[in-house]
């Protein structure tokens, strides 16, 4: 069936009372799961699987999808209020979101996050509706050289994230690259940098690093600065609890950026949502008229990554629903669910199970609206958390950090790592090393190394295809340009100085 009739059919399915109910349940669960570190959508969906065995497939996938994209709405809450990423893709929101909270704009940040999530989430579903098959073909054409070039471009963004000291930013990035290589090499089963610890064979969990460096490091830095100076101002009055028109206007491009970047990168199997949010953030900063505000509380710095991680869900569903290829952990579980319900996920799903496909797509439009209505009124409520006295809030942050780090794996070892990374985060902030590049290196390093080695294996050691293939060639060129930007800036300063000295 064509798109228009498919969508109509889908709404007929999605608007059935039971499916509306499941959509709401999924969105609510997803929001809760996203807000709380230590609970991820993947784990929640897996735990609910046995309960869904008897469910009708359309209702089941509607609910599970609701958990999936609902979590992206909730993930920004703790990122903004407590500097704790609620979900791995929300880590970039910490950068500017928490700074906005420190300036008393917590409500505005939460509101912008919700609105960006809504806009980009809806755009993602529109993309899924209209261009799923051609976009899936585009995703398949992406091979390892293109992935490598994309990761290089992402890493080049470190230049933009380094603040004042480029050298320190690069060093932080390199430490991130090192940390992510700890574990077992995929290609040779060689264990690297595990210091004899079997617990490190699987590598270090990203949440442990992010929570340790961001949340715990920040708590320690705040305690050092003295409690009086660090009281988070609580916004008062409705006007201050929601974003102002100026802030929303400033985010116009960020909404588009987040939607497009998130969707396109989400389509690529194996590219996680953290990558799309970093890219969207980097692009936003690169085209901004006031890039120095990023990292200090720029609303676009919240809108772009938050939008990206929501559009990413729409993108990730493209290969799942059109090709039966799961892009990552959560979509893999959704695939298992579809199999268990007897729905066959693959190229024939759209035609053989239109109830499931179109019902799901239609329910996502509804779901995004439900989530916006659910989240916006919660904003003033959540902002009140900041009213808690600092001596209650800070131990609470430490407690939530423990839950977040322990929740996924249940290992005391991870808590030990958390303690270590907390100290690292504090040391970095004292010595003025920017922490964002470390996280960026950690997120991208593994994928970049893999993509390079795969590319060279495919071309039998030849580096030329990396630049010859059009898409990867262009992205690598862009990466080089971005890396050279500080050089241009330096040359410019030299030139200006020469002019003023001579003139």
């Amino acid at each position: 069936m064509d798109i228009a009739s498919g969508l109509l059919h889908g709404f007929a399915v999605a608007l059935q009372p039971s499916n509306v109910f499941w959509c709401f349940v999924g969105c609510l669960l997803g929001t809760v799961v996203g807000i709380l570190p230590g609970l991820g959508p993947a784990a929640t969906i897996a735990l609910l699987l046995p309960l869904t065995f008897k469910m009708d497939p359309a209702g089941g996938i509607i609910m599970l999808a609701g958990i999936y994209y609902g979590a992206k709405y909730g993930g920004s809450t703790t990122s903004i209020l407590l500097n704790i990423p609620g979900e791995s893709s929300s880590v970039v929101t910490c950068l500017d979101g928490y700074q906005m909270a420190r300036k008393g704009r917590a409500g505005a940040a939460l509101g912008i996050a919700a609105i960006a999530s809504f806009v980009a989430g809806t755009v993602g579903v529109i993309g899924l509706t209209l261009i799923a098959p051609p976009i899936a073909a585009f995703a398949l054409s992406f091979s390892s050289p293109e992935y490598f070039a994309l990761m290089c471009l992402g890493l080049a963004l470190v230049v933009l994230l380094s603040g004042t000291s480029l050298i320190k930013g690069l060093l932080a990035l390199l430490v991130g690259l090192w940390l992510t290589s700890i574990g077992t090499d995929l290609f040779t089963a060689q264990s690297r940098f595990i210091f004899g610890q079997a617990s490190l064979l699987g590598g270090i969990d990203f949440m442990v690093v992010a929570i340790g460096v961001f949340a715990i490091g920040e708590v320690m830095a705040s305690i050092e600065a003295g409690e009086e100076a660090k009281m988070l101002p609580v916004p008062r009055g409705i006007r201050n609890l929601l974003p102002s028109w100026e802030e929303l206007k400033a985010c116009r491009f960020a909404f588009i950026n987040g939607s497009v970047t998130g969707f396109l990168i989400g389509v690529l199997p194996g590219a996680g949502a953290a990558i799309s949010s970093f890219m969207a953030y980097g692009i936003e900063k690169a085209v901004s008229k006031h890039p120095e505000q990023f990292g200090q509380g720029a609303p676009e710095g919240v809108a772009a990554p938050e939008g990206a991680n929501n559009a990413d869900t729409g993108g990730a569903l493209v290969p799942l629903l059109t090709l039966g290829i799961p892009g990552g952990g959560t979509t893999a579980i959704m695939l298992s669910a579809l199999v268990l319900w007897g729905v066959k996920p693959g190229p024939l799903l759209m035609t053989e199970s239109p109830d499931v496909f179109w019902g799901l797509v239609a329910s996502m439009y509804i779901g995004n609206v439900v989530l916006l209505i659910l989240n916006l009124p919660l904003v003033p409520l959540f902002a009140q958390i900041l009213r808690l006295p600092v001596y209650v809030l800070f131990p609470g942050i430490l407690g939530i950090s423990i839950v977040g780090a322990y929740g996924a794996s249940g290992r005391m070892f991870d808590l030990g790592l958390l303690v270590g990374f907390g100290l690292l985060g504090y040391t970095m902030s004292k010595l003025k090393y920017p922490t964002a590049p470390l996280i960026l290196g950690f997120v991208l390093g593994d994928a970049m190394e893999r993509a390079l080695r795969q590319s060279l294996m495919m071309s039998q050691g030849d580096f030329v295809p990396l630049v010859q293939r059009p898409i990867s060639g262009i992205m690598l060129a862009l990466a080089v340009l971005v890396l050279l930007m500080p050089l241009f800036g330096w040359l410019n300063r030299m030139r200006v100085r020469a002019i003023t000295e001579n003139g």
Binding site: I167, L171, L174, T188, Q190, M220, M412, L431, L456
Partner: protein
Amino acid sequence: MVRAFLKNGDVISGAALAALGVYIMMQAHAWDYYTLDGPGPGFFPFWYGAAMVALSLLLIVNAARASDEGQAVDWPATGRAMATWLAFALSVVLMEFVGFLISFAVLTFFIVAFIFRRPFATATVVAVASALTFHLIFPVALSVSLPTGPFGF
């Protein structure tokens, strides 16, 4: 002059990172750099280790050329932060033996009473209330597991 230079944060961290870089390169040397099938496990670590060494040396050189003395360290403040960290670390160790609830309550008590210097009564109330809240939300309501001790919580 030299002593101030050596105590400079950039210099110390630069030296530490240079040492890390050297360590990385040494480890990478033990693995295959390039195999029949392409770069081996030693390829990437070698290069980012080398970059680490180069950049940290550059950092040290820059610190030597910089004219300012750097900021004096506010030791009491740093001490507070480090005490908090130490308490956090010890509470994690404690968790292994007596579980999250008790360890977290102790940690909270310590932070409220000694770092923020509130009265013991306030500290006790906050500690107990926070610990119970965590316990009710996470293990009880959401089945998220937290470290447990011999008492089952």
